[in-house]
Amino acid sequence: MINRNKLFSLGITAAAISLTLIGCKPKGLESVTTSGAAEKVYVAPGKHDEFYNFVSGGFNGQVSVYGIPSGRLLRIIPVFSVFPESGYGYSEQSKAMLNTSHGFVPWDDQHHIALSVTNGEHDGRWVFGNANNTPRLARIDLKTFRTTEIIELPNSAGNHSSPFITENSEYVVAGTRFSVPIGDNRDVPISSYKKNFKGTVSFVSVEPTSGKMKIAFQIETPGVNFDLARAGKGPSHGWFFFSCYNTEQAYTLLEVNASQRDKDFIMAVNWKKAEEYVKAGKGKKVKNVKYAHNFIDEKTDAATSEILNEVLMLDPTELKDMVYFIPCPKSPHGCDTDPSGEYIVGSGKLAALIPVFSFTKIQNAIANKEFEGDFGGIPVIKYESALYGEVKKPGLGPLHTEFDANGNAYTSFFVSSEVVKWNVKSLQVLDRVPTYYSVGHLSVPGGPTKKPHGKYLIAYNKITKDRYLPTGPELAQSAQLYDISGDKMQLLLDFPTVGEPHYAEAIPATLVEPNSTKFYKLEENKSPFVSLGEGKTKVERKGNRVDVYMTAIRSHLTPDNIEGVRLGDDVYFHITNLEQDWDIPHGFAVKGAANAELLIMPGETQTLYWKPTEVGIYPFYCTDFCSALHQEMQGYIRISPAGSNLPLTFSTGKIVEEKESGK
């Protein structure tokens, strides 16, 4: 193995080129890093990374946070999947966050993230994430690194083209991957796709101060698959660009049947025009929809869920000058606008070139009606009229493009497993480096904004094969860090990731770190179940419901002896962490609980539901190692038979010298 690697490394360049041509994965090229790489990624113990990297978790449904350049995993933020480690989706306060029109959904597929922006630059306030499977958008607050809002998207099926954000976070968009029948009659033959199936793109408005999301309007489109999108910026602010494939309108064996046409489309949406139509009352109120809107209620500090039944729909076949199609070869995936806002890069995943469109030319083409016909009643702009130029023979299977501050673009190539650097204006390829293996998205800090920070490029790989110690058939996916500060890209580091690292954004730590919440102030705890001090703890019975108001502080729980609870009771433990110091959470678990633990941050109240199943004494304890006396932080609850007359009692530190207590 080692000898083989050495042999291969002798001819890296030649090997990379020949491998590109035959389209295989490069193998055995581990030694491409040069000296100095270790120094560039070494963050000394106790020192902080320069960037936060927010990485979507793909099939784990969460967002993970890494430090760059070290590649250290700092946190997994639970978003669309339950997370027993913190009680997310299990505690009474968080359950409602995963409510949908289909009821409680414990898992999803989290593909892309978008950081909030002001004037086209990162502002460090929120991370938005999409759920692919049961279409939803989430908002994570970067003060607490917690999911504080989730909104479901009606008339959508597979929310892949999402979330992408406008220059001042006016809207986050959500385009459906699958077109489906919408409206009153949804029980139709699958083969009636062309007639009955429709696509939609949703414009979700973001309230500037609170961040609260609302579906402002949806645009109905012909049945296609929407893939990705980007907002215009600078001169193209007010426009949005969506890539779409399957303009063949296939409904079976898409691998073949959706790959027939030489060109699919980039859909250009004039959303300022759409806003005018909304204001003028041209939208159609669609009432046969049902979608959940979940958010942290400021009155209770708990997630609350409302079901909404109306959405505003705009029909571009009636409302002109709002939507246009631009032909784009071939099954376009990425659709990325450069920092200037003038250039839109389409990446046909089956194409052998990269088309770059000009916003100015698109505007002229629309003004001069340089159309080649229509698709589903929507004008199609002539390819040449919109095209700035093509990057010739860049590689195989272009997917996604990010940008640096110097006018360069970096495009990932899945089939040829490489990253290609090229100049946006000259369209010349400048450099190429291999990835290990099968790269998907790329991230340059600030890459999708008006002012990229550059310095690094991170490639997110789908396959790792032999890159790490094997762990059976299931292997880690990975990220690879490149230095892009010089003319040539330099591979610095491999690091394994959790879930499938899909899209990611990186932001300077200085924009996030100073705002990070250290603990929740007890004085601001608005939970109706809070115990503001041990003197306020109590146990109450209402019929079969028993509410335990408990406090946790190093190193005891109050009350820690509870009797008089009966089989058949529904028990709610409301635990308030009385600590007011950074990094002192307490945990809570009770034997036999059919859900999870609670992890309660300082100053916070969390509730665990427990249904005892047998008569006996049940222990409960703190699950987060909190102090030297953590092992002493425990208690007992006595469960008596149904119908027992034992009175409800609770205490801490009370010693009753009885041979048998409670009788």
């Binding site: 007890l522 503001l532 190193s555 009385l578 600590e579 007011q580 030297a628």
Partner: protein, 159 residues
């Protein structure tokens, strides 16, 4: 002498506890922020006043009843879990006669600057050796700490 004793005590705790104390022991050491708040080499002159930003407290007679009321509420929320009002030790010492044993500045510095106090103040270190649980920083303001002091004075029988 105490400076020698403390490391021994800490070592002993480490040996006797069932598992390594995660990294919490390290995290409880003073942070840069704490150090800044306490000011450089504060109160080196008078050790009975403790270490921290509080250098001079002017007590009022009679008691400021508004402070007593606020202090009671803060005590119930943030202190009662560990401190009883009689002379019995719970997690920390009972508060009975604390205002007679300690200078008001020492009490407020202990509340406001507990990490530095536990590491450097001999009297605070004696208490740690006795109680073996580090008093948590409950992040109260200077005004809050003054209110708590007023409540302690009332608890000690002042009018």
């Amino acid at each position: 002498m105490k400076k020698i004793l403390l490391p021994i005590a800490v070592a002993a705790i480490s040996l006797f506890s069932c598992a390594p104390d995660k990294s919490k022991v390290v995290e409880e050491l003073p942070t840069h922020q704490d150090a800044k708040e306490s000011g450089p080499e504060a109160n080196q002159a008078d050790v009975t006043k403790g270490i921290g930003a509080i250098k001079e407290v002017k007590l009022t007679h009679p008691l400021d009843q508004e402070r007593v009321t606020r202090g009671t509420a803060i005590y119930e929320m943030k202190c009662q879990a560990c401190h009883k009002l009689d002379d019995q030790r719970l997690v920390g010492p009972g508060w009975k006669d604390v205002t007679k044993r300690r200078q008001p500045e020492w009490i407020m510095n202990m509340i406001l600057n507990v990490d530095v106090m536990l590491d450097k103040d001999e009297e605070a270190q004696k208490l740690l050796e006795l109680c073996l649980t580090r008093m948590p920083n409950q992040n109260v303001s200077i005004g809050d700490a003054r209110d708590i002091l007023e409540f302690m004075r009332k608890n000690d029988g002042e009018k």
